[in-house]
Symmetry: C3
């Protein structure tokens, strides 16, 4: 078994879901991994990882709208607002989604379902540079 690692640098222009599936896949191919397990970990508390529908952009739009409604900015009870109106909301939205994902690799590919894509979910309004740690345990 072999261990591979890198850090993916993802630029996010503001709130939304950003597809990183191709970036992860390209890295796997560069390493020549045929089979194993891929571990993703985002090093932030105001952006997260989600698996979601990769075909129809309206699916992602609805995820974003849902979060705006479920965790709206400007609630009077928020106490954590040092960095602005999207401060408490970003941490709450991160808690409700994922910081780490584990995805099988087979036949040199991520073993995703037909409609699955890997997304960085940016919860901040302003542009950010996000880091996603990628680790792969290569079996063959």
């Amino acid at each position: 078994m072999t261990w591979h690692k890198t850090t993916l640098e993802i630029s996010t222009p503001g709130k939304g879901l950003y597809d990183i599936t191709k970036t992860v896949h390209a890295q796997l191919q560069g390493w020549g991994v045929r089979e194993g397990m891929c571990f993703l970990f985002i090093q932030h508390t105001s952006a997260s990882l989600v698996m979601s529908e990769n075909w129809d952009p309206t699916a992602r739009a609805d995820l974003g709208t849902f979060m705006e409604r479920l965790v709206p900015e400007g609630e009077s009870w928020y106490t954590h607002d040092l960095e602005g109106a999207d401060d408490a909301t970003s941490h709450i939205r991160t808690m409700l989604t994922d910081t780490s994902l584990t995805i099988p690799v087979d036949d040199g590919n991520l073993s995703l379902g037909t409609w699955q894509g890997i997304y960085v979910f940016e919860h901040r309004s302003r542009p950010h540079a996000r880091k996603v740690l990628m680790r792969v345990l290569q079996v063959t």
Copy 2:
């Protein structure tokens, strides 16, 4: 260290939580795994994985009811409805739960707590055939 893999085929008759703990456990025993880590990954964006209470069926009933209330069908603001009223809701409910789970294995068993079970959470109204990828890193 040894690598094992299979795909669990789970039939879901409609919305609800379906216990797959025994299926996962039987597979572990078939392989003779004593110790290691079990990785589960569901290849869908409208069904998900959750760990939940395995004793009282009312616990699962409440999880289902909660989701129906938190993410109700028929909201006027949904834009993703190509596949019906449970389309946007299924993706949102998947986002709020899990696509991947990692569970330790010890003494030939999943190291679950007394009340923990592993469930496929089906978010679609109609019956589906779901695939859960199971990977095991066997240490001994």
Copy 3:
């Protein structure tokens, strides 16, 4: 590659988020792990794991308040209340957060972002003794 394992015993005095970052880190150092992957798994359905902001206590306070509002105790539609008013709510809150986390290890440290901490999120009102299984795949 080497496998390490232990069980972290975490005492929780009641609802809230409890930082276990130092406990996990101390264990890593005790084993002398330089690089690999750390797997955490909480053996409960009424307490969960979350990655969150580690600097400002108000961030955690807002996570707790959010959960109290999103999943309030005493809803008339709960059917699972054998163990009290925090019974159904605890399982729902666990479902919305995490039971397992996977965190890379590099240079002898958890590869956390600057503001990330690892927390046990206790959903029960009364004190509990919680078990978090810690497994480490050591690469170097």
